[in-house]
């Protein structure tokens, strides 16, 4: 009869918000939310307990906080590399199945270029001995 599982259908509808807030940067709601909560490494900030409950709900779907079915948006999206100026080397998922900050958690921890883009890291040089590999202490 075309009946749907309401919980999942609701998630799928709300998930579209998460997606649109990533890709539609000119859109009205992105501009409202970025003015209110700010942006960190290309993702809108969650904003703590004083944030609007609507926005906290969306952020929960995006990143998943303590929910079994949360976080599936962050799991599924990835970056397709172009010039690399808009992709975060460590934080975005752009090469492999997980972000490099998770795959190489210890390197990320020691890196001094945590918020560098792929373009910046490439320019610094990621070949052997390249300057992209700068650490807080000797490895």
């Amino acid at each position: 009869m075309g009946a749907r599982k309401l919980k999942e259908f609701n998630l799928a509808l709300l998930g579209k918000w998460c997606w649109r807030l990533l890709v539609d940067r000119e859109g009205f709601w992105y501009r409202v939310l970025v003015a209110r909560y700010g942006d960190k490494a290309g993702w809108l900030e969650v904003g703590g307990r004083s944030a609007s409950s609507w926005w906290r709900e969306i952020a929960k779907i995006r990143e998943g906080v303590g929910e079994l079915d949360g976080g599936w948006v962050a799991e599924r999206v990835s970056k397709v590399l172009g010039d690399g100026t808009n992709t975060y080397f460590w934080l975005d998922k752009w090469v492999g199945d997980v972000p490099l900050c998770r795959r190489f958690a210890r390197l990320f921890d020691l890196s001094i270029n945590k918020y560098s883009t792929v373009a910046e890291m490439c320019q610094l040089g990621w070949e052997v001995g390249g300057e992209a590999w700068s650490w807080r202490r000797r490895l």
Binding site: R4, K5, E8, F9, L11, A12, L13, G15, K16, W19, R20, L22, V23, G66, E67, L68, D69, W72, R76, V77, S78, K79, V80, L81, G82, D83, G84, T85, N86, T87, W94, V95, G96, L100, R103, F104, R106, L107, V118, A119, C122, W126, E127, V128, W133, L139
Partner: protein, 89 residues
């Protein structure tokens, strides 16, 4: 570890004049659709949830035990971390 990371980067080509873009689910090379997301959610969620629910809410399990188990899975037990998140301590 750096070598392992560097190997990943060997085939990476940065293309000037092309913008980076977001991609939804690299398996289907598609834009976000509510239909696709709904299908993915119903497909992956069903077994995991049902299995635990049938075990927790079993007739022979005392009610108080069911509730503690349910709170555990939802991470709603008053642990130190949770109490801190809620500003109790």
């Amino acid at each position: 570890m750096v070598d392992e990371c560097r190997i990943l980067l060997t085939n990476v080509v940065v293309q000037s004049n092309v913008s980076d873009r977001w991609q939804w689910d690299s398996n289907i090379h598609d834009d976000y659709t509510v239909r696709g997301a709904y299908q993915a959610l119903t497909y992956m969620d069903a077994p995991a949830c049902d299995a635990t629910e049938n075990l927790i809410w079993h007739k022979q399990v005392p009610f108080k035990v069911s509730i503690v188990a349910w709170r555990l899975l939802k991470d709603r037990l008053p642990t130190k971390v949770n109490l801190q998140n809620r500003g109790v301590i």
